[in-house]
């Protein structure tokens, strides 16, 4: 198992406030890593480091063995909880954006055969995420779930080495969220993606992830809580069997809770 993305003794500090300390991780290609933890435990900071939006204060982050540059690049795609699509472009133009930037450095617009090819690829990508009928709609005309589908399609067309998801389904209704889970798992398999996903929903973390990281502080100084940073305190590798067992147990708990609430506990 070769590490695609590795964190070597990474620290992130703001002044004397330590956010992350001694993060040592190797993330394998094609893994789906869920990151959970309490608020303020540095989950999002960790993702920003992987994205290149921030640089570690100490330590190294390597992608394919080379250190990450200090800014975002096309090798790492991202989907945020909100605001990750362009409101002034139609769905189709949102997905074509990457092709236009790469294909035309000066005008960022394609013409003729190049444009037709980019258009067809973008339309195919949109069809794959279930937005085949919404090519010419603006994001404001799409529902929350459709906007996230669009954001995913837009990121995937760049074929990123790593896809970073920052609570991508956090603002969606439960039913829509399940549809999105199916979609992201399908895309993960078909496109052979490596995914890092921050979530505050534990069942989502176990449902989707092949590996679950829990970020929290190992040590707490009650007089100076900011002096110690968080790190990955639990690191669970899930085989398919273990994952299924956990999901089954969760469903059992849910079923029991429901039967207790409704007063029909015939199985107990």
């Amino acid at each position: 198992m070769s590490a695609l993305l590795s964190f070597q003794n990474v620290w992130l500090e703001y002044g004397d406030k330590v956010v992350l300390e001694r993060v040592e991780l190797a993330i394998a290609e094609r893994s789906f890593v869920s990151i959970v933890g309490p608020s303020g435990a540095g989950k999002s900071s960790f993702l920003r480091l992987a994205l290149g939006q921030e640089r570690p204060t100490r330590g190294k982050i390597l992608l394919d063995g080379t250190p990450l540059p200090g800014e975002c690049g096309p090798d790492r795609g991202v989907v945020f909880q909100r605001y990750s699509v362009f409101p002034h472009l139609t769905a189709l133009r949102n997905v074509m954006f990457e092709r236009e930037c790469v294909g035309a450095p000066l005008t960022a617009r394609l013409f003729g055969a190049d444009r037709r090819r980019a258009r067809d690829e973008a339309a195919a990508m949109l069809a794959e995420v279930g937005l085949g009928d919404a090519l010419d709609l603006y994001p404001a005309q799409l529902s929350g779930g459709m906007q996230q589908r669009l954001a995913i399609a837009q990121a995937l067309i760049a074929r990123p080495r790593v896809l970073l998801l920052d609570e991508p389904f956090g603002a969606l209704d439960p039913g829509i969220r399940q549809d999105m889970h199916r979609l992201i798992l399908k895309l993960w398999e078909e496109h052979a993606l490596t995914v890092l996903m921050v979530t505050h929903d534990i069942s989502e973390a176990f449902n989707l992830g092949t590996r679950v990281l829990t970020f929290d502080k190992r040590r707490v100084d009650p007089h100076a809580p900011h002096r110690f940073g968080a790190t990955a305190v639990y690191d669970l590798h899930l085989t398919r069997k273990r994952r299924e067992a956990i999901v089954e147990a969760q469903q059992e708990v849910l079923r029991l809770t429901e039967s207790v609430i409704t007063g029909k506990e015939e199985s107990l």
């Binding site: 975002c72 002034h88 005309q141």
Partner: protein, 271 residues
């Protein structure tokens, strides 16, 4: 039913909106008639007939000195100055506002400078402009540009700075360079805001134009008003003021329509 829940329908709304205007017109007619009953040569509140007569001279009869139809010459001169000035404002504000909004280093360098320029009352600079540019059209255009541009620059730069960080990050992960980011993400979102800013600036722009024309000019709507003031010619001043208001409203409506047509996404397209 509570008052807050009474919503007039579209037609009723138009009717209600025209009521105050109608009311003012009626009050004026009565006041004018009352004054003329007392003093038939009253100049303060001229009757509509007197206004039509006075305006007919300016609208249809050529000025014996210059050979021009005065009303139309005034209108063309003022609109030329205003249009040229607003064009310069829009282009320079777009350029500077984009640079300030997109590049944090430029904002750190020039942000405070633009804010400082913006607090100088433009009218206070008018003597300087007359000294530097002479009494021709340049000084009048320059006054409007100096008065309006700093506001537009600040408004635009703030608007671009407020574009969610997520969008800028996303664009970078899609391979956009700084130039492409400015061209494809910042510029299209800045344009509807620029139009909105110009609409808000129309009022001040007219103020600067009329001030400059009042002080030194030989043609223009503002010049004419201040000229005929010497003869207490309310029969010319009132129609001129009404005409200026109509022009301002037409410009505002045209800009609003332009924004709706060209940037439907910014006006809740299809929602």
């Amino acid at each position: 039913m509570r008052w807050v829940n009474i919503r007039p329908r579209r037609r009723t709304g138009w009717l209600l909106g025209s009521l105050p205007l109608l009311l003012v017109a009626i009050v004026y007619l009565f006041a004018s008639a009352a004054r003329h009953a007392e003093n038939p040569s009253d100049k303060l509140l001229p009757t509509p007939g007197a206004m039509v007569e006075a305006m007919h001279g300016l609208l249809a009869q050529a000025d014996p000195l210059s050979g021009r139809l005065i009303f139309w010459a005034d209108t063309v001169a003022s609109l030329e100055r205003l249009g040229l000035a607003l064009g310069i404002c829009a282009l320079s504000a777009l350029l500077v506002g984009m640079v300030l909004g997109v590049l944090p280093a430029a904002r750190a360098t020039f942000g405070a400078f633009v804010t400082t320029i913006a607090v100088i009352p433009p009218i206070a600079l008018l003597p300087v402009l007359f000294i530097v540019f002479g009494l021709g059209d340049t000084a009048k255009v320059a006054l409007i540009v100096i008065g309006v541009t700093p506001f537009l620059i600040r408004d635009l730069a703030d608007h671009i700075t407020a574009i969610p960080q997520e969008q800028l990050i996303k664009a970078q992960t899609l391979g956009a360079s700084s130039w492409q980011l400015a061209l494809r993400v910042a510029l299209p979102q800045a344009l509807p805001r620029l139009i909105a800013g110009i609409r808000l600036s129309l009022g001040p722009a007219w103020v600067y134009l009329i001030s400059a024309e009042a002080i030194a000019s030989d043609v223009g709507l503002g010049y004419r008003i201040f000229l005929v003031r010497r003869y207490l010619s309310m029969d010319i001043i009132i129609p001129y003021v009404a005409w200026i208001s109509i022009l301002a409203i037409l410009m505002d409506v045209a800009l609003a329509q332009l924004s709706k047509r060209a940037f439907a996404w910014a006006h809740g397209a299809g929602r």
